[in-house]
Structure formats: structure tokens, C-alpha cells
């Protein structure tokens, strides 16, 4: 097995976060600059019965376009798409975004596992998965699926996470994932696909 730092071109970055996730994403996502080539797809566990303000909040903070995912929308390079509340977000062939109202997975909808497993299927080695702070173990199986297809696995160092259970569970399941503090992950994102820059 290759190490988790494999160096295939990354076409998509999938991110999963729960408790403390908005603060962590507020450190990470603003480092992405126009010209960033990979698509960024994000699941944050939120209350299911309310509309989400994530796209509005991060549009203010980010230099790249931010949207809430709509079913069948093509995946856009250099754009951040958030899963809408109460729907699973998946990646389908195309690649395009796909939503589902199927049962909760790990007590969650959207579920990180659902996004990661479907993205692994479509992107293979060209995918990076990042597990951030959170209070349950959603995302661990998904990160394992990404590693299985040769994608890159990154986990926020549990001791630096606001809530450590989610990154710790992911690390337990994917021991060769790169465990980094937030600023390390930010540096990694900033230097992604350097040869691709215009």
C-alpha cells in the first residue's frame, strides 16, 4: 500500500466535520485562492430542521465561490459546495452532485461516510479526504474507503481538535492517514497541485 501522502493530482477534496466544525473550517477554507483547481465538497453535521447558513457564512470569508449543493449540479473545480441540511450529499459519474433523503447514517444526514464513499468511487486516487473535529465516528469508514482506492487521507490531530472523537476514530481506522494540526492542513491545501497553477 502506498503511504497516505500519495502524490497523484488531486481533483476533489472532501471534508467532514461535526462539533466545532465551523471554527475549524473558518481557518481552512479562507486559504483557498482563486485558481485553486480542485473541487471542495463539505459535510458539516447541523440541525436537520433548519435551513443552513453555511454557504452565506463562508461566501463572506472565502475568496473562491461557495454554494449549497443542488441535485445534479456538475461538480465545479475551485468551488466549495456544502451538503444541504437533511440530505445526504453524494458524487455521481459526470462528476455531478447527487442528493438523497435516505435513512440517517451514523445518526446523521448528511453523513460524512456517504459523501466520502461515493467520492472514492468516482475520483479514486485523485481524491483527498479530510476529517476534522467532531463528536461521533461518522467519516471513519468513508476515509477508509478513500484509502482503499489509493486516495489521500488527512485527519486533524485529535489533540488539537475542539472535539477529538471524530478524528480519533478516523485515525484508528486509517492509521496511515496524515495527522496534522489545522495550520498544517491549511499549508497542505495551499500547496495542492502546485504544477497546475496558471
Amino acid at each position: 500500500m502506498r503511504t497516505a501522502g500519495a502524490s497523484a493530482r488531486i481533483d476533489a477534496v472532501v471534508i467532514g466535520a461535526s462539533a466545532g466544525g465551523i471554527e475549524a473550517l473558518s481557518v481552512l477554507l479562507p486559504v483557498l485562492l482563486p485558481g485553486f483547481r480542485a473541487a471542495v465538497l463539505v459535510v458539516v453535521h447541523l440541525p436537520r430542521e433548519r435551513p443552513s447558513l453555511l454557504a452565506d457564512i463562508f461566501t463572506q470569508k472565502c475568496a473562491v465561490p461557495v454554494i449549497e449543493a443542488v441535485d445534479k449540479e456538475p461538480v465545479m473545480p475551485g468551488t466549495i459546495a456544502f451538503a444541504p441540511p437533511d440530505y445526504h450529499l453524494l458524487v455521481d459519474e459526470g462528476p455531478q452532485l447527487s442528493l438523497s433523503a435516505d435513512a440517517l447514517v451514523n445518526f446523521s444526514r448528511p453523513s460524512v461516510d456517504v459523501l466520502f464513499e461515493s467520492a472514492a468511487d468516482v475520483y479514486g486516487t485523485h481524491l483527498m479526504g479530510i476529517i476534522l473535529t467532531g463528536g461521533n465516528s461518522d467519516g471513519a469508514a468513508g476515509l477508509e474507503a478513500i484509502r482503499r482506492v489509493g486516495g489521500m487521507a488527512v485527519v486533524q490531530q485529535p489533540e488539537t481538535a475542539q472535539t477529538s472523537l471524530m478524528p480519533a476514530s478516523a485515525l484508528q481506522r486509517v492509521p496511515d492517514a496524515q495527522a496534522l494540526p489545522l495550520d498544517g492542513i491549511a499549508t497542505l491545501l495551499r500547496t495542492l497541485n502546485p504544477g497546475d497553477r496558471p
Binding site: A69, D71, E73, P84, L99, S100, D102, S118, D121
Partner: protein
């Protein structure tokens, strides 16, 4: 088992279902279908989809069980209350102008949406002149929908949604609680026809003033979405209304130009006059 093998087996299984049972899942969105089939494999105790295929072809009773797995959606009554509020404000005033109304709930599953619409129409004084077609491909789901019985634990959530939908009455006016279940009123059911219909293989069966089809299109690929939306367009009368799920879009379908937005956030459209 490699993912490539799984993809091959999935295609074969979907073809086998079509050939043997005439249910067409070939236009379903791949990623969701894979998840559902993987879950079904576990539920049926099969190691591969080929094993599941063997059981489907040779075991009576296996297919109806799988059908539940592949199609049944758990929804809530008055899910997305804003949708129902928008119907009251933007659609009902036009519906009032018709002497008789036909409404199509496509993909009704266990019926939560159908009863929600029937109650809304009753509150707006329109139910007596209305006929609601509730269709689904799953006969088991249609039976459950027709029964109109829901666990009493779900009623508080339904009731809360109902209040936020601009309710003019109490949800408790429409059901009786019995042995831990809420049984919805027969007088609502008198205006509903439950019927087997596939958006993938069947055609239009009536002219209607409103189609409500929410969180069904997300399970279809673009080609099948085109087919379904085209059926809705054909079925709708001039200036008829179409409601879809909160995160669904007509933008990516071939018939997008045939509709105007009536309530953008709540995903209600109106068929253009031309």
C-alpha cells in the same frame, strides 16, 4: 470483491429485475443505487450482488422485499412547511378558479405528503371539488398509504410542521389515536385514488392542475429526470403548477424552459402558457 466487479454485477442485477419483474431501475442515479443495493446485500445476507440476483430470480417473496428497500422513503407530513405555506399563498388562489381539481402526487410512498395536501385542501375549502391521484411503483407502499396509519410518536413532529404551514385547524381534527397509532380520517381518503404508476415506464393518465413530486427526482439520473418532468409537463393543464423537493432543480432538465418560477425557495413552478 473489486468495485469494478460490483459495477458489473449491479448492471446485471438491474437488467434481471427489468426482464423478470418489468421494474425499470436503469435510469436511477448510480451513487444512491449503489448504497441501497449494498445495504440490501447485507440485509439479505448475500456476499455478492450475484447471490442476491440468484435469490431474486428463484425465490418468491424476495423481490417485494427488495422493492421496499429500493424505493420506500420515510417522509414527514408537511415536510418543509414553507412549501405548503407557498402553496396556500401562491397556488391556492388560482386553484379556486377551477370548478373541479385534479392533483397528482407522484411517488407518494407511505402517503405522508398525500394526506398533508388533502388536509391543506380541506382547510382551504377545496377538497370537496378535488381528486388526488397518489401514485407509486411499490404496491406495498401504496397499501400503507391507503391505510393512512402512522406511529403516534411521529405525530408531534407532523403537528409542528402543520402549524408552520399556515394551518387553519388542528392536525388532531383529522385522525383518531388507537393502540399507539394515528389513523387518518376516511373522509380525506374519499378524495384520493391510489394507483400503481412508474415515472420510468408509464405515460400520462390525466390532466391535472397541480403535480407534487418531492424528493423523487433526486434518485433519477438526468435522462430519467427529463422523462419524468416531461410527463408532468404533458399532464399539467395550461398554467398548471409543479412542486419539487427543496434541493431539487429543473435547471438541468430538458423541460426547464417550459416552466416559470412561482416560489423560488420553495421550488414551485408554473407551466408556461405557450
Amino acid at each position: 470483491m473489486s468495485d469494478r466487479d460490483f459495477d458489473i454485477e449491479l448492471r446485471l442485477l438491474i437488467d434481471a429485475i427489468y426482464l423478470k419483474y418489468h421494474y425499470d431501475f436503469r435510469g436511477y442515479a448510480g451513487a444512491s443505487m449503489k448504497r441501497r443495493m449494498t445495504a440490501a446485500m447485507v440485509r439479505f445476507g448475500c456476499r455478492t450482488l450475484s447471490q442476491l440476483q440468484d435469490r431474486l430470480l428463484h425465490e418468491p417473496g424476495a423481490f417485494p422485499a427488495l422493492l421496499d428497500f429500493l424505493t420506500v422513503q420515510v417522509s414527514d407530513m408537511f415536510r418543509d412547511p414553507g412549501y405548503f405555506l407557498a402553496l396556500r399563498e401562491k397556488v391556492v388562489p388560482l386553484l379556486r378558479t377551477y370548478p373541479s381539481l385534479k392533483i397528482w402526487v407522484a411517488g407518494c410512498s407511505a402517503g405522508e405528503e398525500v394526506y398533508s395536501l388533502a388536509i391543506l385542501l380541506r382547510e382551504e375549502g377545496l377538497l370537496d371539488r378535488s381528486l388526488i391521484y397518489a401514485t407509486d411503483i411499490n404496491p406495498g407502499a401504496l397499501q400503507r398509504a391507503e391505510a393512512g396509519v402512522y406511529e403516534v410518536e411521529r405525530i408531534a413532529g407532523f403537528s409542528d410542521n402543520h402549524k408552520r404551514s399556515g394551518a387553519r385547524s388542528s392536525l388532531s381534527d383529522y385522525y383518531t389515536a388507537r393502540y399507539g397509532h394515528a389513523v387518518f380520517d376516511k373522509s380525506l381518503r374519499r378524495h384520493i385514488v391510489f394507483s400503481d404508476h412508474s415515472l420510468a415506464t408509464d405515460s400520462v393518465f390525466a390532466e391535472v392542475q397541480l403535480v407534487s413530486c418531492r424528493n423523487v427526482l433526486i434518485y433519477f439520473n438526468r435522462e430519467l429526470q427529463d422523462r419524468a418532468v416531461d410527463l408532468f409537463r404533458e399532464s399539467l393543464c395550461r398554467k398548471g403548477f409543479l412542486g419539487i423537493g427543496a434541493k431539487e432543480s429543473l435547471r438541468f432538465t430538458a423541460s426547464a424552459d417550459a416552466f416559470d418560477e412561482v416560489a423560488r425557495e420553495d421550488r414551485i413552478f408554473q407551466k408556461r402558457a405557450a
